[in-house]
């Protein structure tokens, strides 16, 4: 058991969701649906799994997290602020003129390793990082968060093939599988299924979890590699817009910004979950 109980982490997720909605509302921009679907994964990674903090960010042996689905940056910004990388109030400038907190991750923001946002980039970068760790016999692990719509990018499969070839078992890809992308359901846009069998065929150890179950995420993400010599692909089944009932499972919230009324409703609903 780490620093926090499951209940404490669940409460953190509620606070993160409240904060990201606040800053999305202020910025009048954000990828709300994917922020909310990936919140619990980021929460568990930063609070329970990654050996990453403001104090060790220059340490070559820190774990690496590269967010391939860069558009869910509001979730990452809020979690990094909570880790102490910068004051959360910095996010009041998000998407504003000359702010470093733009709509996709950049290294101008403390705690961010790579500038991402073009889809299908994270896994290759992570394969390079994981390979460097193997060559240097360094202890760090490498994590990426991939969107399910993003799986259509061929570069993921190039990297997937290579990662298993080099037996990069220090590499973990988490799929935020909320089943929706900007146009609609993944299966209708360009069917990525069967996702598990494809990654197994590419030589990965594949595991499926409930991406909103803190205990399940902790159990899996703290125990990789599942099989020595294989990278791990975690299919985290999630709900787009998770935590705000009228946003859940609705594609329009991919980058929807709530109206004043919707915002009040969403905040009340989330606040009711606070203990």
């Amino acid at each position: 058991m780490g620093k926090y109980s499951n209940e404490e982490l669940q409460q953190k997720s509620v606070k993160y969701r409240l904060a990201m909605l606040k800053y999305i509302k202020m910025a009048k921009a954000g990828h709300t649906g994917g922020d909310l679907s990936s919140t619990d994964i980021l929460n568990v990674l930063y609070n329970d799994v990654l050996n990453v903090s403001p104090a060790n960010f220059g340490d070559p042996n820190r774990d690496r997290y590269i967010q391939s689905k860069g558009h869910a940056v509001e979730a990452l910004y809020v979690v990094l602020a909570d880790q102490g990388f910068y004051p959360e109030t910095d996010l009041e400038t998000m998407c504003k003129y000359k702010s470093p907190y733009v709509g996709h991750p950049t290294r101008k923001v403390n705690g961010i390793e790579f500038n991402t946002g073009g889809l299908g980039h994270g896994l290759s970068i992570c394969a390079g990082l994981a390979l460097a760790a193997k060559k240097d016999k360094a202890p760090y692990r490498v994590f990426t968060l991939i969107g399910d719509g993003e799986l259509a990018e061929g570069s993921n499969w190039e990297a997937g093939m290579m990662a298993s070839h080099y037996e990069l078992d220090n590499l973990v890809a988490v799929l935020d599988h909320n089943t929706l992308q900007i146009t609609g359901k993944n299966a209708d846009v360009c069917n990525p299924h069967p996702i598990d069998e494809k990654w197994k065929a590419f030589g990965w150890q594949v595991v499926t979890v409930n991406g909103h179950n803190i205990a399940e995420l902790r159990e899996i993400l703290n125990n990789t590699p599942i099989e020595k010599g294989k990278p791990t692909f975690v299919i985290a089944n999630t709900i787009k817009g998770k935590g705000v009932s009228f946003m859940e499972g609705e594609k329009k919230w991919h980058h929807g910004v709530p109206t004043d009324e919707e915002y009040e409703t969403a905040i009340k609903e989330l606040e009711s979950e606070l203990i």
């Binding site: 790579f114 073009g118 980039h121 896994l123 290759s124 390079g128 990082l129 240097d136 190039e158």
Partner: protein, 330 residues
């Protein structure tokens, strides 16, 4: 340097690159070559044999090639990503833009067999667009070395630079245009020959035919300045402005499309400096490239001793016409 000193043939710039990488790796375990099934065409087999832990093969997958390279570079590795220029520069352009340049990790992209080095293989294998594409990307240094010396110095500079590089090299044996003890600075052009009637601003493997053209012109009493503009970005504007002011005609020469390459870069500098000079971009025009060997293709488009000297004389005549003055050649 005197023209008579130039005729000693060296090796291919590609070979100079690989030899330099071997030298660097002897003292530095952080030197890593990353290849896309390109170690043989990149002459990196001796490197792979000697330093098997310092070469990474990703297979024929250029997007992954560059992404992996960025990941490696972010840990402090000195990464030399080696792949044919035609594929490296633009098959993986978004990775170059985001993972390397925008993320600011010092990956050294080595575009081999560049330009029309693969001549007869056809346009799929020509890289006549790489400089144009990469010039538009912030934080990329672009070097097109002319000879073995410039290649070696560019590779050494890239190895210690904290910034990304694209270095474009061919595979033809190149004459030596520099003495081994000359100074080489990224962003500072090299003057190969002094002259005042016409200025040739060239890069890469086209510098040598420019020197040959200067020899022909010399016999006719026309003095030609030959500049090796090995660094396309950042561009040495001072040398361009000086040439535009001092010479009667200005000719850019490159193994690249005339669109977006060295010539247009020079033209921008000249115009923004408020100067005017009879000017010609010599390169590959905007048409389906003619079939042939590298030499045949370059000659077809006037990049040869006779083609370039003829162009110089035409421009000088144009100047006489424009100024309506009797212009006496020295």
């Amino acid at each position: 340097m005197n023209i008579k000193d130039i005729l000693i043939t060296g090796k291919a710039n590609l070979q100079a690159y690989c030899d330099t990488l071997l030298e660097l790796a002897a003292d530095d375990p952080n030197i890593i070559a990353v290849t896309s099934d390109s170690r043989e065409s990149g002459k990196l087999t001796p490197f792979a044999d000697k330093y098997p832990n310092q070469i990474v093969e990703v297979g024929i997958a250029e997007q992954n090639l560059v992404g992996v390279s960025a990941g490696l570079a972010s840990t402090g590795k000195k990464v030399f990503t080696t792949s044919p220029g035609c594929f490296l520069a633009t098959r993986s352009l978004e990775q170059v833009k985001n993972d390397v340049a925008y993320s600011d990790y010092p990956v050294n992209l080595i575009g081999i067999s560049a330009g029309v080095s693969y001549g007869a293989l056809g346009s799929t294998h020509h890289s006549l667009h790489d400089v144009a594409a990469l010039r538009a990307i912030n934080n990329m240094t672009i070097v097109v070395p002319a000879d073995n010396f410039e290649t070696k110095e560019a590779i050494k500079a890239a190895a210690v630079s904290p910034k990304p590089f694209y270095i474009k090299i061919g595979k033809k044996n190149m004459p030596h245009l520099h003495a081994e003890n000359e100074t080489f600075i990224i962003g500072k052009a090299s003057t190969i020959l002094e002259g005042a009637d016409v200025a040739f601003i060239a890069c890469g493997e086209t510098v040598y035919p420019t020197v040959e053209a200067a020899q022909l012109l010399n016999k006719e009493g026309i003095s030609a300045r030959v500049i090796s503009m090995h660094t396309i970005k950042p561009l040495d504007a001072d040398v361009i402005i000086k040439a535009a002011k001092e010479c009667k005609a200005f000719i850019s020469v490159e193994e690249h499309s005339i669109n977006g390459g060295l010539g247009e870069a020079c033209a921008s500098v000249i115009l923004e400096a408020g100067l005017s000079v009879p000017f010609k971009r010599m390169g590959i025009p905007d048409e389906e490239t003619v079939a042939g060997s590298q030499t045949e293709i370059l000659e077809h488009y006037g990049i040869s001793a006779s083609g370039l000297s003829d162009e110089a004389k035409r421009l000088i005549k144009q100047l006489k016409h424009l100024t309506n003055e009797k212009y006496e050649l020295k």
